[in-house]
């Protein structure tokens, strides 16, 4: 029992928690931006796959790591705009379109992988982002080493949280985004473009989602596997509700999930002989469902979420 508690004091546990949380931070922020503008982007799971695949492919073909990040973001933005063509411009169902984008992006990524590497059994590995280990951090106990092990992409995730929070609450653009997810007619009446705002939010949000995928292949691991996304996109959709569409709470939710996941891995080695491992694997998801049930009862959905806006219609 004491051993189970001691885990929480280990720097390696917190390092793992942050590493697991990082792609979720990107994903939740992306989903949050889309949904704040009134568009549910269920393409997230597929955009994760596409970002992971294209970022890794760029680097394995000789590109710079940051070029891989940029390519992933661009691919994500393009998929977001594709989502927008159907849901914002044509006003089609956001659920159906999002799921289609997920299927399309996932299978295209796998197809692209097979085209690039027709006859390999193990995918080529790349040299991923290295831990930054800044000197000023090492003095802090537990947190210092835990953060020191993280790569530049993790710091980018933290930066994105701050930037998103700032833009949403402090700038005219953020004001317009929040308004367009609540009452697009109000935005239109003020002479702003509902379509432009929503397309922009989809492009930016989907680019962030793709960064979540790229984090897995360029930072957490060093290669691309089928099924490596493994539902992380869906977790982000749930975390968005948990976070009440606020960037700060999104960070908290992602870290909480990361901590649960890191904890269950360590519990498995402690008690794996007594309790089936599947129970531990379920743990983070069960806890997220529980957290969601508690948070979602008070959730204040953007009023225009999932409602297409067609000019001149009430």
């Amino acid at each position: 029992m004491m051993e189970a508690l001691e885990i929480i004091g280990q720097a390696s546990f917190w390092a793992a928690a942050i590493r697991i949380a990082a792609p979720l931070i990107f994903g939740v922020l992306g989903a949050l931006i889309c949904e704040r503008a009134g568009v549910l982007n269920l393409g997230i799971e597929g955009i994760f796959v596409a970002g992971a695949m294209t970022g890794w492919l760029t680097v394995s073909m000789g590109g710079d790591l940051w070029l891989g990040v940029a390519v992933a973001a661009l691919v994500g933005a393009a998929l977001g705009l594709l989502h927008g063509v159907f849901t914002v411009i044509l006003g089609l169902s956001q659920h159906v379109t999002g799921l289609s984008i997920t299927l399309l992006a996932t299978s295209t990524a796998y197809f692209g992988y097979r085209v690039a590497f027709p006859s390999v059994t193990t995918p080529p590995v790349i040299e991923p982002f290295a831990p930054l280990n800044p000197a000023w951090l090492s003095a802090i106990p537990i947190l210092g080493p835990a953060l020191g092990q993280q790569t530049a992409l993790v710091w980018l995730a933290f930066l994105c949280v701050a930037v998103t929070a700032f833009v949403l609450s402090r700038t005219p653009l953020g004001l317009a985004l929040r308004a367009v997810g609540d009452n697009p007619a109000a935005v239109e009446a003020q002479g702003l473009s509902v379509t432009g705002l929503r397309m922009g939010a989809l492009a930016a949000g989907s680019a962030l989602m793709a960064l979540g995928g790229a984090f897995l292949t360029l930072s957490a691991f060093n290669s691309f596997f089928f099924g490596m996304i493994n539902g992380r996109g869906w977790v982000c959709i749930a975390l968005t509700v948990f976070a009440s569409w606020q960037p700060g709470k999104a960070l908290l939710g992602a870290l909480l999930f990361g901590a649960f996941d890191a904890y269950q891995v360590r519990l498995q080695t402690l008690a794996g002989s007594v309790v089936p491992t599947q129970i531990f694997l379920m743990l983070p998801y069960l806890l997220s469902i529980l957290a969601l049930v508690l948070a979602a009862r008070r959730a204040d959905y953007p009023r225009a979420l999932m409602k297409p806006y067609i000019k001149g219609e009430r």
């Binding site: 005219p172 004001l175 308004a179 609540d182 935005v187 009446a189 009023r303």
Partner: protein
Amino acid sequence: MALAPPLLRLRGIGMRFGDLIANDGIDLDVAAGEIVALLGENGAGKTTLMNILFGHYVADAGEIAIADEAGRLAPLTQGSPQAALAAGIGMVHQHFALAHNLSGLENIMLGTVPLFGLRLPRREVRARLKQLIAETGLAVDLDTPVRALSVGERQRIEILKALSRRARVLVLDEPTAVLAPLDAEHLFGAIRTLAARGLAVIFISHKLSEVLALAHRIVVLRHGRKVADLPAEGADRETLARHMIGHALERPEPTAPRAGPPVLELQGVTCGTGRDRLRDATLTLRGGEIVGIAGVSGNGQRGLAGILSGLERRESGRVLICGEPAGATARQMVARGVGRLTEDRHHDGIAGDLTVAENLILERTRSPQVQRHGLLRRRAIRAEAEAAIRAFDVRCPGPDAPIRLLSGGNIQKLLLARALHGHPRLILANQPTRGLDIGATGEVHRRLQEAAAGGAGVLLISEDLDELLALAHRIAVLHAGHLTPAIETARLDVQTIGLAMAGHAAGAFAPIEAAAS
């Protein structure tokens, strides 16, 4: 006023939606400082015309010109709200264009500051608005999220929003439809102040009294055409009504009550919560009688109506329907013979996506007329709906159209058909004509009087004193949850009722209350 050069000029505006001609060659001039009322029935084309002006629609024909800085008329680009805003046209829609998750201040800043700026100039905008509020008297809390504000406050934010964009022409679409009478008075005061400062105001309405009270000039539309353009001075209700509906105004003739056995007895009933709590109410309503309940909304009406519609549980007291204890659920109340017209017909009255026919039978889905062995009798329902549509003159594409497509007046007529089905013994009519035009209002009044003549008891809850005085045989007043005794209408006048609505029991209300207590 008419001699002043126009600030805004509309010429030959024409617009059609499919077969419907919404606007047909309409001309309109508005001068600075002028309050022009655009009067017409629902569907006369008022809102369409203003949506064209504001760029929501592009007209099929016609031109719009607005004076520039030097006073010369310059054409306005159509179909562009941006161009309309830039030209100084501000519009307050009937359904407010506000984001509920933002504060009033944020809503006003939306679109007025450059989109890609790095900061929101909260302090500057707030200072400017404080000054505007001081000058116009449009008091409002700028920092509360709009969702927590009252309808009146939201409307003031909309007006401030238009003014802060330096509007020279302000269009108000049915601004009083959602307001309590006192709020409407405040609004009128603000509009007069603004007009005196040089703002041109176009005021859309179908209420004759407020148009006569506020406007300098009255333009009447009927079936998409301009049928009259006359100064408000010297205009009277009858003339305006004739222009508006094409024939003389029919006032409901007071009917004589037929005092039958009591259909509703309230004995010391307390229910409801908050401002709308009903406290210790006692009332007897007999068959054949119309009893009016006067009072400003939010003084216990919801509690009273809730008890009779089966939506509210009583805490104490007794409710008897035709001498028997009332049920506690909506289904039981319907079974007892209570016909109900709810206050918010869109919210409580209908299921918008269901068809006209389905909404009509919604209260009695278990009746053998409607179902057999648990399956809906489609043909019978359709036939019944067609009969109701004919009998109540419901203008709709047919029984299979989704009811949300109907106008408010037609929805109310259909709900009337539903409430009156099977000759209910008690009819609850809660604000039955709120938001309806003259035609539909007349139809509702006639039907309620017919029902009373047929032996039903009608409880008419209304804020409209003209309506109460014309229809009700006795009137009681609700104030702060307390219900006065019901007094014969002949012994009452507007002043007495108005005082009682404000909590001062005087005149006919005073001695009886003293005797009762």
